[in-house]
């Protein structure tokens, strides 16, 4: 009975995800909502606004540095959880 409930729940999630993916536009079309003016601004003005020749480094450490801070926090929390589990298990 419990397995049937889990199966139905997962099937509902799968239907929702597949329906969302079918509504998305084709990858790489010029008229997509993701090809707006933000990426053009990053490419055109990254040297004079950040002074870094590597556009990717200027995006992940200057324009979107807050996301990189979140990723560093996730790394730290994952390693702390794993180390505490290993040490508690071996003692």
């Amino acid at each position: 009975m419990r397995k049937l409930l889990v199966f139905i729940f997962l099937a509902v999630i799968m239907v929702a995800l597949v329906a969302t993916v079918l509504e998305m536009p084709t990858f790489g079309e010029p008229g997509n909502p993701t090809n707006n003016e933000v990426s053009e601004r990053y490419i055109e003005k990254s040297i004079e606004e950040t002074g870094a020749l590597n556009v990717i480094a200027s995006i992940i450490t200057d324009y979107r540095a807050f996301d990189t801070l979140g990723e560093a926090t996730v790394l730290f929390v994952a390693i702390a959880a794993a180390l505490s589990t290993i040490k508690a298990h071996s003692h």
Binding site: A52, N54, I60, A65, L69, A72, F76, I79
Partner: protein, 145 residues
């Protein structure tokens, strides 16, 4: 392992691997690479040393406590740069608006806070991998006793 060829070659290789890893970290804003990949290369040099010799020799070079402290210090450098920008009177993690010197593009010491942030992330990733390696290998030793 006690093989003499492995020990000889790895002792010759470790400085060059660390030099390459430091190059990738410090030139993060000029060439492909940055903090994450450079930190992994630096960590692999210490893991090579601890594998060729035994764990006691590796712990003498970089102790378990030192790598744990470095792991939290790297994330603190990152957040500290952001709070330093607040102290100067502008946004959190601001670069040009906070008045950090941008320099000329192409020099090594350019682009303000990007170098400090990249170095902090590199230290953090390297010490994370070394701490995880030490804990797993030490756990094996206790389990076999």
């Amino acid at each position: 392992m006690e093989d003499i060829i492995v020990r000889y070659i790895s002792r010759m290789l470790v400085p060059f691997v660390q030099l390459y890893g430091l190059y990738v970290i410090l030139h993060g804003h000029l060439s492909p690479g940055g903090g994450f990949s450079g930190g992994a290369v630096v960590a692999s040099s210490m893991i090579l040393y601890a594998l060729a010799f035994n764990l006691a020799e590796g712990t003498k070079k970089l102790s378990h406590d030192a790598s744990s402290v470095l792991e939290s210090g790297g994330a603190l450098i990152f957040a500290g740069m952001g709070l330093f920008a607040i102290l100067l009177g502008t946004n959190f993690l601001g670069n040009r608006v906070a008045g950090f010197p941008l320099g000329t593009p192409g020099n090594l010491f350019s682009s303000g806070a990007i170098m400090v942030i990249t170095a902090g992330v590199g230290i953090k990733v390297a010490s994370t991998m070394i701490t995880l390696f030490y804990t797993l290998i030490e756990g094996e030793g206790h389990g076999h006793d």
